[in-house]
Subunit: 588 residues, 2 copies
């Protein structure tokens, strides 16, 4: 029913022929990442996703995670075994440094693999996703001892990690965090407070859980500068790494959610029995800044959930549309599968084409993170970092929005059967709906994009991006003006001019009235995401004709790209109109 | 938590000041429908919706309808009592003829009231919605005896009605119906077969249920012309109206659905014990044609579910946004509710403005049905019928699509809380998702619009509609060119030109290639819906300034209309581009 075929040929095409593996494989730490290795990793990961994770997706939804009377959290049937296999494969450490026990592979490859976990079983894949965030935070900011005690066990998957930011009164506005941390004589802290929406906040799949917790020290300044980051393990760990007593942190309830039922979303109570023991990470007062250093990866990962659920929804809808017969061929009178009806094809192509575009954008952004970490030249690294910073709110905001739309279209393709839970299409919609919300709502993404990524540098990083795009556009020479490629180029060319105009408009209006950023943010993000992913679709269209692409992939990609340029990219002009028409904030 | 305030002032404004009550109240059968009566009915209905139906919405979702071991179907706590009150109020018969025991009020008013039931409790309101469809079918096509035996009891609500069309292999394509009906010596028929997706197919709220069933007589021609319509009561009814033995129809299961949990969606098995007794309605072979006569009302009603759920989602999101504090005022440093943030306002206004536009379109379409039934002149009636036929797929297709989008936006406004089922926002999304599917999928609506409503008469009805719109546009004289009204008029003027161009394009391409209709249908429906509802928004904007509208309503309507013209109507140009760019069917 809900078979999942890993989209390996699409991912390979993007890595090898569009983004170019050599852009990252030549970076110092990735010297041994050959094309063959990449292909082998994708194959193995795909096999695991399809054969182990995907078959558990529905049972996870039905059973959900449960808080038992003894206070433990039970994950659904098969979760423990799947998690053990995940660790055996070493998958948690795919992009972690080899020096810490990871595989040391490019973030690009880690992202490609993660998309498959998310497509196969989003509720399961959230667990390693959160652990990855904790790994990154400790890799960057943990002390040697903290890294030794916690990091290698998280990279191996032996222990999982969580992120404890949100409190009932502090969601998008983390300045309102109230949890407290009081320094003890031994250098540890006593942590008290309640954290909500903690993904995999408790479970029994591993013998320990490493909670990363934002809290305030006494006398710390109000606002975000008073917030520090602490390690609070579920079980205390002795200096030689042995697991000791239960720490004072309790899962007091699990949320009853629309989707991702198998992922335990916990309310965690710290310090009801005198204070949970925590250990300061880095310096006091820098907790939020540390969180920001890992936010790019986390937001990229959530954006990929939008791509992943779109892919899964597409596969399921296509299969149904090819099987379900309604209506007849006008000429032959034969019964036909609904997939041949133009309107059903339009729905399928909307999912297919937007998924391809968002996948290209997400993998390109992942490659920028590799470049930002490892390019030899300082300035080049900074430029790559600026580009990653620019793109990631687009990936998170746009890809998760289309994830919801695509899962909804997937339901629609099924007709009445789509509304029946047993079909499985509705689960994708329920699961997809969280992605525009968590890890910074899409409204927050849009504000991050317009404010920190465009207004702050007066669109310098964006202009550098657009210069590359224009180079591609004008670099296509000697092409037949009636060809698909020429048509696509013309559409993108117009869209980029529009985006430049919107950018001028944004800069001008926000300079005159700071509140305009809030008003323009969402359509501006969407316009930019469409245009920049359009660039990658143009490059895809160029690549299928230039490389030795198999014929079926060439046809599919060409159709997907041309659908994008004729049917999806024109939405960018609609967004430009919305922006142009927003002449006053009172409009809203 | 999920309080519902009936949108009476908005509905009154549309009926009295935009559509004009006198356009229908002057029709022969409605002579006594005074403005005061309309207001009194709206007040009473609003009270019932808010105080009886709305409080049951969540319990209905949680408990759902249940098929018990004894084969009976149990509706949720409170359903029986609410249904009894509904009947006491005489609400089932609001638009049924007085001669049959109804209130004999305009369809316009019946639609306005029905929207409030749907907003308060969509799963409950489905029951009277289906009964209305059965009432209409029997009013038009039932014999005198059938009307006497069944109709008055359905109009009073004493018995409910169902529509049995779909079978596992026959959904959008009803030509594939296989259920059989064999004539008996007494003139009745023995009905056998399985029907699926039967809304309120079984329940214990009433002592009988009147199933209307499509089935094939032996030797009937293949395809749709071999299908007849039958009355199959749950309990047999004697000639003097007494309830007798149980008929051979069994609810074999209830579907486990994404939403509308409280509405029992039944699989009904007819004739497992030798055949269910059924009575032919009208003539053999005309079953599908009879269904079409009631389809306008049913599709209008489903379209209104999109409006209703949007209204409900808006009210809940607005309340949360006005209460939840995150962020601070840049000048005063005070904590602010999220409703003041421009991006949250944009989400709220998207819901508000599209809801207003879709409500206007749905009520205007309802008024056309009144005119089509009761205008004195034959030609005028035909013209009104053509307009209703034109508009109803737009209401069904567009309003239910925005219903899903708006419910999803409502979730988004709540942030993390939106994903938690207890909040109630997620239920609206789950409930809303069925409306684009049933009563003809929105793909079917788009095909109906482009095929039967535009291509068949070479756009004559549409051109008559556009002529009226242009008369409004050009009829606005002596207005300040910098005013909101002038701006709105300019936007609509451009949009109508675009729609004419799209229509030319549709006529031309579909003449050259019949398959193009499938390819162009969906964007064409959406473009038309935006433009025609834009006309009603322009008239609304004119009306708030011309009538004695209360100041708060005037401000709210002006804002909603201007948001529509600057932010929503421009999507019509995007749809026009999609159409223009579809030069070949292979694109999809």
């Amino acid at each position: 029913m809900s078979d999942f075929t890993p989209p390996i040929s699409d991912i390979r095409f993007l890595i090898h022929d569009v983004i170019g593996l050599d852009t990252v494989s030549n970076l110092p730490p990735y010297g041994e990442t050959s094309a063959d290795l990449v292909d082998a990793i994708l194959e193995e990961a795909g096999k695991f996703a399809a054969s182990v994770l995907a078959p558990l997706n529905r049972v996870g939804d039905q059973e959900g995670a449960k808080l038992l009377e003894d206070g433990t959290v039970r994950t659904p049937t098969g979760w423990n075994e799947a998690y053990a296999q995940f660790c055996e494969g070493g998958w948690q450490g795919i992009s972690a440094p080899e020096s810490e026990g990871g595989m040391g592979l490019p973030i690009l490859l880690g992202a490609a693999v993660a998309e498959m976990w998310q497509a196969a079983n989003m509720a399961f894949a959230l667990c390693p996703m959160l652990t990855s965030g904790a790994i990154e935070a400790l890799t960057a900011h943990g002390s040697d001892q903290q890294r030794e005690l916690y990091l290698s066990r998280m990279i191996s998957g032996e222990w999982t990690g969580t992120m404890n930011l949100t409190e009932p009164q502090a969601g998008s506005d983390l300045s309102k965090v109230r949890s407290t941390a009081v320094l003890q004589e031994d250098g540890s802290y006593k942590i008290s407070g309640q954290k909500i929406f903690i993904t995999y906040g408790d479970h029994e799949m591993t013998e320990n859980i490493v909670h990363l917790v934002l809290a305030r020290t006494p006398n710390a300044p109000a606002g975000v500068k008073g917030i520090s980051l602490f390690i609070v393990p579920k079980y205390l760990v002795s200096d030689n790494g042995e697991i000791g007593a239960r720490n004072d942190v309790t899962c007091v309830s699990l949320e009853h959610k629309l989707g991702i039922h198998a992922s335990p979303t916990a309310v965690l109570q710290f310090g009801d029995k005198g204070g949970a023991t925590g250990y300061l990470v880095g310096e006091e007062g820098k907790g939020l800044a540390y969180m920001f250093t890992m936010m790019n990866n986390a937001r990229l990962a959530v954006g990929q959930q939008g791509v992943a659920i779109s892919e899964r929804a597409y596969q399921q809808a296509l299969k149904y549309a090819n099987t379900r017969k309604q209506g007849r061929d006008a000429k032959t009178g034969e019964e036909v599968p609904i997939a041949v009806h133009g309107d059903v094809q339009r729905m399928l192509m909307r999912i297919r084409s937007s998924t391809d575009a968002a996948r290209a954008l997400s993998l390109y952004a992942a490659a920028q993170l590799d470049l930002a970490h490892h390019l030899p030249d300082n300035q080049d690294r900074a430029a790559a970092q600026a580009r990653a910073d620019l793109l990631i709110p687009l990936v998170k905001g746009w890809a998760t929005d289309i994830g919801v739309d695509n899962a909804s279209l997937g339901v629609q393709v099924h007709g009445g059967m789509g509304f029946i839970e047993e079909t499985g299409a509705a689960q994708h919609l329920r699961d997809a709906r969280i992605a525009p919300i968590y890890e910074g709502t899409n409204g927050i993404q849009a504000l991050d994009f317009i404010g920190r990524k465009v207004l702050r540098d007066q669109a310098a990083a964006l202009m550098a991006m657009l210069a590359d795009i224009k180079e591609t556009i004008h670099g296509l020479k000697d092409i037949d003006e009636t060809s698909d490629l020429a048509k696509a180029r013309r559409e993108l060319d117009h869209a980029i001019v529009d985006l430049e105009n919107s950018t001028d408009c944004v800069l001008e209006r926000c300079a005159a009235d700071a509140d305009m950023a809030q008003v323009l943010a969402t359509p501006y993000l969407r316009q930019a995401a469409l245009c920049i992913s359009g660039w990658l679709m143009l490059r895809s269209l160029g690549a299928v004709n230039n490389t030795e692409t198999p014929e079926d992939l060439r046809k599919a990609k060409t159709k997907s790209c041309m659908f994008f340029f004729t049917q999806l990219l024109p939405e960018a002009a609609f967004m430009a109109t919305q922006i142009r028409n927003c002449t006053e904030t009172e409009l809203l």
